[in-house]
Every structure is written in C-alpha cells, then in structure tokens.
Symmetry: C2
C-alpha cells in the first residue's frame, strides 16, 4: 500500500468494497496492518478512505480488538464522472500488463481492454494474472495512488475487432451521440505525430496501442475502417508502459486535466 | 538488456564506450552473452550498436573465440543535437531514482540533477546507487531502450540553489542568449496547470520536480526568484516517476518531438 507519492503529504486512500463496510476489519487484513503499523493510527484517529466505485470519506479507528479493528465512516459527496478515456492494448507480457493496469488507472482511464491482435502472443491471456483475479489488485493500487476510488472497466482476451465492435455501436445507432475521438499509436504507418492530433469537441477518447511486435495488416485495416487515426510518438523507442503514460498524459493535458 | 519494446522489431541498441572499440569483447561480458544467447548472432551476422555519446552504427560478429568475441563496426553520421531539456529532481529514494534515471533518459532529457531540498532526505545521496556508480547502468539502459547512445549529464547531492546557479548564468551574462523556459511542478502553490504552460520560443527548458514531501518555502522562494513558473499536474496523485514521464511527454509533444 505504500508508495512514494510525489508532492503529497497524503497517504494513499484506503479502499473498501461496498460489502465490507458494515463489518469489523480482521487484524491480518493488509489494510489493518497498514493502518496500525505504517500509518500508526490509534483509537480515535482518522484516515482517508474510499468505497470502490463510490465516494471518498473519512474513516475513524474506533477500537483495536484482538481479532479485528472496528471502524466508522463518514462519506463525502459523490465524485463527478470522469471524462471517458478508454485504452485498448494488445495483450502484453504479464509483467508489462501489471504496470499498465496500475499506471493507466492512476491516470484516470475509464476502461482498459487487453485485446488479442494478429502479432500478439495469445498465451499471455492464459496468465494467472488474469485467471486468478490478480489483475484487480493492480487496478486497486492505481486507484489508491490517485486518491480516487473509481476503477476502470477491465477486459482481456477478446479480439481487437470484437472489442471495437462492443465499444463502438454501429454508425447508424451512433448518429445521435457525440462520436468518440479514435487514436491508434503506430510507429510504422502513422500519418501524423501523436502530439499534433487534436481532440476536438469529443468528450470521449479511445486510444489503441499495439502489442510488442506491432499491429498486423488486418489490425490496421480494422482500425482504419472504424476511423482510428494512426499516430506516432516520435523517434525514440519507448517501453509499452512508458508509451501508455506518455500518451495518456498528453491526452489529459489536452482535456485540461493536467 | 532485454525489454518489451513497444511497436518495434528492433532490439535495444548495444552500447560501447569509445575506449572499448578496438578490443575483443570478453565472453563473460553481458553484451557478449546477449549477442550470442538472446539475439543468437553467429559469425557474419550484424547487430545495431552505438558509441556512448557518439554515433549509431552496425556491428558485425566476426569470430566467436573461447575467451572473447571479435567484432567490427561501421558508424553512421553524427546525430543532430537534442533539444536541451533539463530535469531537476528533489533527491528521491534510490528505487525511485533508478526509474527516473532510466525513463528520463529514454525520453531524451539532456541533463538530470538530483538536488538537495528543504524537505528531502539528505541520506538518499549516500546510497550506493550514487557512490558505486550504479546510476550509470540505469542511464545506459534508458539510452539503449531509446535507440539513442547519447547520455544526459547526471549530478546528485548538490543543493537546489547551487544547481540553479550552475545551470543559469546570472541575468547580466544571460542577456545575449535565449532565456530558457523554467517550470516547476508544485501541487500546492501552483498558479497554473502544467498542460496550459506555453513553452514559447525557448529552445531550452528546465523542469523542476520536488522531493516526495514537496518543496519547502525556501525552495519556492529560490525557484520564483529565478523565474520558474509553478504548475500542477491535476488532482490525481501521481508517483514521482509517473509525474516525470507525464511532464516530459507533454513537453516533448509541445516541442514537436512526440
């Protein structure tokens, strides 16, 4: 739970699932250990809390029992919705996926889709990162870091085409809503640099990033058919997780959030 | 040496110091092992190379001896200079410094100063990261990743004031040269969001980022006295290394490089 927050005297938010709020917190729960041993809270002390996908608030440590802590909570107003920013990523190796899950959540993406592409390694979808539910730990860590309890929607193992079809309703149905801005990072067939791509009036952005070996011709055809602009991040070769942070930061700056 | 390059079939650049070029490469050198075991190069095969702070080129594996590899090189034209982009960071814990050394180099900073500030932990400067020279490994890894053999200037353990004084000549001397754009990240006393800061015509940018506990009042006075604009990165709390990548990406996009 501990991390080096830049420029903040706040410790990370301590997150609870909605179903946990009425119950005592077992002493062996990592959050209980964090509260008592790292934050050194004593009965009567308060701390910052959030409900997963709910509000932030203040917790009070009421009692430290042999088996469990008794806590009480006061909740703030609901948080205003985040601007929709969805990330489609070609399934990376699990170690890279962990970093992207955490960093993209910290930067406030609203959905994160790890998709199967032509040149991806399909076996990455079989990792225990996904099957054991471990992925959610990294998302929770990113949310706690950002001091925002809202989690992105996360999917994995669907094809690029199926994911685009799910996220983009057919053009006919789409006519009545603001079309999203569709951007795909591509170092080989980009027509424009990423930093020069205007977002325009779109309130929703979908950003696609290929797998380690890049997009295949079928992937590119699929992206172009749906109206994605292919853009590059310059001449320097970045790791996937660095490219994610760089591109999301540029988009968030464009939207006036950074 | 291996990493998950996003969207590149290129492997990382293999870097040599200028003094190493005439000599055989010992078999136990990590680069020899990487060439033979990971890249599976055989006599006659080529690979991408760079000279530290020099050109890129092609290497050829001539012979695999019992003790050493014999290599030959063909060098390209000198690389055009990088736009000056200097980073001043309040000395972070060593684990964070390692990430910043690598990521900032990958993103092409030309200088990296880890400075002593009012609220920093001065003992971080005593870490073996600095005294053993380990820091240079992370810079080399960042350069190899970026496919660019040029390394930033790195300093550590000097005060913020001393570093600014070294990097910014007095105003009188400075009158004849383009003044650099001076930006400091600050989540508490920022007057403007970072994404709204224009770079203007400045070709040189100096970006300052405080230590984990933030700038102290004396640090801020020093920054303001020299003309730094205090800017914030929005409401979400970022780790120091994420803030570095986000801010550098936004600056590089402003300069037309991303």
């Amino acid at each position: 739970m501990q991390s080096a927050n830049w420029h903040s005297t706040r410790v990370n938010l301590i997150l609870f699932e909605p179903t946990e709020l009425g119950r005592p917190l077992p002493r062996q729960d990592p959050r209980a250990q964090h509260l008592c041993d790292v934050l050194r809270r004593r009965p009567g002390d308060t701390f910052d809390v959030g409900v997963v996908d709910g509000p932030r608030g203040k917790g009070t440590l009421l009692e430290v029992g042999a088996e469990a802590l008794t806590l009480s909570f006061v909740w703030g107003a609901p948080l205003p919705p985040l601007d929709p920013l969805e990330l489609l990523v070609g399934l990376p190796r699990p170690q890279t996926a962990r970093k992207i899950l955490q960093e993209a959540t910290t930067l406030g993406v609203t959905a994160l889709h790890f998709v199967v592409t032509e040149r991806g390694e399909p076996q990455y979808a079989q990792s225990t990162l996904w099957s054991s539910g471990e992925w959610r730990r990294h998302v929770l860590a990113g949310a706690a870091q950002a001091f925002d309890p809202r989690l992105p929607l996360v999917t994995w193992g669907q094809t690029l085409a199926a994911t685009i079809a799910t996220r983009l309703p057919p053009a006919a149905e789409n006519a009545s809503v603001d079309p999203p801005r569709l951007l795909a990072l591509d170092n080989y067939e980009a027509s424009v640099r990423f930093g020069a791509c205007e977002i325009g009036p779109a309130r929703r952005v979908i950003l696609a990033l290929g797998p380690e070996r890049g997009w295949g011709p079928g992937d590119r055809a699929e992206l172009r058919r749906h109206g994605f602009t292919l853009a590059h991040l310059g001449e320097r070769v970045l790791r996937a997780e660095t490219a994610v942070v760089a591109a999301l930061a540029i988009l968030r700056a464009r939207s006036g959030l950074i």
